[in-house]
């Protein structure tokens, strides 16, 4: 394994000109505490052993790397592999992050976890580790998202978490983050804010990345093992950017491995109903970090849209902003319609119901596989499973007259 490549800037808190810590002074003490705890923990064999045990015996790691025969045939090009984060406990890559941060919270002596959630996957994962470690858990979730991801609300409640619907602003993920931060400012002495992606003020983007990068480390070893070489391209959907950062990181120093992030193109980039921050945003400061933001010319954050709650976010992690800037990774967008097409392809050709977030990556991955031709190898991060989305998908398909069985029943 190559050593982790650090950002060009000597200053750990920044990725080039991105990142930093733009938060109320009241939080800087807690962020320093987290920074120190995380660095200590990464060098503590006992912490690593406990994390490894949780990942393996509780979380189901390493996750499989599946050759997607149907998709490969469909694309008619490179071999397509799926990194199966849907098979991890709770059904998504989000577990990697919460296992690490949960143990850190315990190490810092916190008794309460605060989380925000969009799709509910991160909320479920946080509720899971809270139950496992005996910590209190409060999850902020946009009122609109509580509706579209109701199954996950119930899952969180069954594990003893309190779910607080957020009615302010656009009632989605960004407002849930605002509310979680407000809670944290007030409760910082006994609570840890378990942020759900590689976003937020320093050190969160680093800390989260260091817990999710296991995805890419496994992928790299799995592909090398089977093919004796690295893949030509690695792809992932990008909301805040954690599953993408997780699978990209181990390949950063392999310049021949193309890294492709796929954002939510919503109803199209020519409309303002999308969430494609890196593809169609501008530089700005949101949720404590300098990165890219979907905002108006004055810096007011714009309402976003995506068929998937987990990608419906106007910001993106600062390390992605830096990877885009340096050209190491490229970013594109897939529309709602392409995501539904991707969902259907995975369901019908692979027997996998992916999360709607994940489904965004499918069509661009097939496109890349076609460009690479039959000698190529592409790995797509299958970041989560789609049980939570079946109602939402059925509703959308019904609205467009494509619901399953709609034809059969006339």
């Amino acid at each position: 394994m190559t050593a982790a490549m650090e950002p060009a800037s000597a200053d750990l808190a920044h990725f080039g000109r991105f990142g930093g810590r733009y938060v109320p002074e009241a939080l800087t003490g807690a962020l320093d505490e987290l920074d120190v705890a995380a660095r200590d923990a990464l060098e503590d064999p006992a912490f690593q052993a406990r994390l490894d045990w949780l990942r393996r015996d509780y979380g189901g790691r390493p996750t499989a790397l599946t050759l997607a025969e149907g998709l490969t045939e469909e694309a008619g090009g490179a071999r397509i592999y799926l990194k199966r984060e849907d098979l991890a406990h709770t059904g998504s890559h989000k577990l990697c992050n919460v296992l690490g941060q949960g143990l850190l919270a315990q190490r810092m002596g916190k008794r309460r976890l605060i989380a925000e959630t969009g799709a509910g996957q991160h909320g479920v994962a946080t509720a899971t580790i809270a139950a496992k470690l005996g910590l209190e858990c409060v999850v902020y979730m946009g009122a609109e998202d509580c509706r579209r991801q109701h199954l996950n609300v119930v899952r969180m409640q069954l594990m003893g978490a309190e779910v607080i619907p957020v009615e302010s602003g656009s009632r989605t993920l960004k407002d849930a983050i605002n509310e979680a931060m407000r809670d944290w400012v007030t409760s910082v002495s006994d609570s840890h804010y378990l942020i759900g992606s590689v976003v937020g003020p320093d050190p969160f983007p680093r800390v989260v990345r260091d817990f999710v990068r296991v995805i890419g480390e496994e992928t790299r070893a799995q592909v090398l093992d089977r093919h004796g070489r690295l893949p030509d391209a690695v792809t992932a959907c990008v909301g805040g950017g954690s599953n993408a950062m997780g699978i990209f990181h181990a390949f950063l120093e392999d310049p021949d491995v193309a890294l492709l992030g796929i954002e939510a193109g919503g109803e199209g980039l020519d409309t303002d109903r999308h969430s494609a921050t890196l593809t169609a945003g501008t530089e700005g400061i949101l949720h404590g970090a300098r990165s890219w933001v979907l905002q108006d010319e004055w810096g007011q954050v714009r309402p976003t849209h995506s068929v998937s709650a987990g990608l419906d976010y106007p910001g993106v992690g600062p390390e992605h902003a830096w990877l885009r800037d340096s050209g190491r990774a490229t970013y594109t967008a897939a529309t709602d319609a392409e995501a539904l097409e991707g969902f259907s392809l995975l369901a019908r050709r692979e027997g996998i119901l992916p999360a709607l977030e994940t489904a965004h990556a499918v069509v661009p991955t097939l496109r890349r596989a076609r460009e690479l031709g039959p000698e190529g190898i592409v790995v797509m991060n299958l970041s989560g499973r789609g049980d939570k989305d079946v109602d939402e998908i059925t509703e959308v398909l019904e609205a467009t007259g494509q619901a399953p069985g709609a034809g059969a029943q006339g």
């Binding site: 810590r21 938060v23 109320p24 003490g29 407000r182 400012v185 002495s189 810096g299």
Partner: protein, 280 residues
């Protein structure tokens, strides 16, 4: 906003001087926050003028931002009203340019860093500072800009004669307080409690020790905010701090009774600022 003469030329140091003058007159300074554009631009200007006439020593003009994470429900809701009108920071500055020639006390802008940084483009601190000075504003408070990240703004502010205000919190470590003291040119904003804006029934016990820790580090005035909502609380804070900052309670008065209600509350708070100082 980019051409013509300043409405009132900005002289650095006005903010700290206003607080000190209040002290010389035997009271803690009263600093009143109201958002621009709530319930509309003209009424917000009238409320700010009423506050100045009723005894505020300094005004904080809030420029509404879409994601105000230091604000509690009262200020969030008021700012949302202004945003729903479609007012931009440009409109807010234009209101300030009309306001400042009509008041005898300094006014500061209070907003979030992205609006200042992004002002009509990318990395525009200097443009914002220039236009704020031209609108007659005396300084800025940016609650999500900690002193550790404050160097670029401190430079832009200094270039245009604006005073800076940085925040300190009860949990701030000594090194942080040192940085806050060093970067501040106006007054230090000491948070009375760990939390966001909003009226509270009781003030915590953390403010006085924080003020004492700051006194050991700076000769700048130290003002206390977060949670102060009535005359008794103003008096309590005035007994140990140089200034008392009131936001949510005045915003509520503006919403319920307009400029008259603001004037009434401000006069009462100002009395508290005298009583508390006298009791020292």
């Amino acid at each position: 906003m980019s051409a013509g003469q300043p409405a009132a030329p900005t002289v650095p140091g006005r903010v700290g001087r206003a607080v000190r003058e209040a002290g010389a007159q035997g009271r803690a300074a009263l600093i009143v926050y109201l958002p621009a554009g709530y319930p509309d631009l003209d009424t917000s200007q009238a409320c700010l003028e009423a506050a100045a006439e009723a005894g505020a020593d300094l005004l904080e003009v809030g420029f509404p931002y879409s994601d105000p994470l230091m604000d509690g429900p009262t200020i969030q809701a008021a700012c949302q009203v202004a945003l729903d009108h479609g007012y931009t920071p440009h409109d807010d500055l234009a209101m300030c340019a009309r306001l400042t020639p009509r008041i005898a006390v300094p006014a500061l802008v209070m907003t979030y860093y992205n609006l200042v940084w992004h002002y009509g483009g990318v990395d525009r601190l200097d443009h914002f500072a220039a236009d704020a000075a031209q609108a007659g504003l005396a300084g800025a408070i940016l609650p999500d800009l900690p002193a550790s990240e404050g160097e670029p703004w401190a430079r832009a502010a200094a270039a245009h004669g604006l005073d800076t205000v940085f925040l300190a919190a009860p949990a701030s470590r000594d090194a942080t307080l040192d940085a806050v003291a060093q970067r501040t040119t106006g007054f230090v904003y000491a948070s009375s409690t760990m939390g966001v804006t909003g009226a509270r029934t009781a003030l915590g016990s953390e403010a006085a020790p924080l003020v004492a820790r700051l006194r050991a580090r700076t000769s700048d005035p130290i003002c206390v905010g977060l949670g102060v909502s009535n005359r008794a609380q103003a008096a309590e804070v005035a007994s140990f701090a140089d200034g008392v900052i009131v936001g949510s309670a005045v915003v509520r008065a503006a919403g319920e009774g307009g400029p008259e209600a603001v004037a009434e509350l401000v006069a009462d708070l100002a009395a508290g600022c005298r009583e508390g100082h006298a009791a020292r």
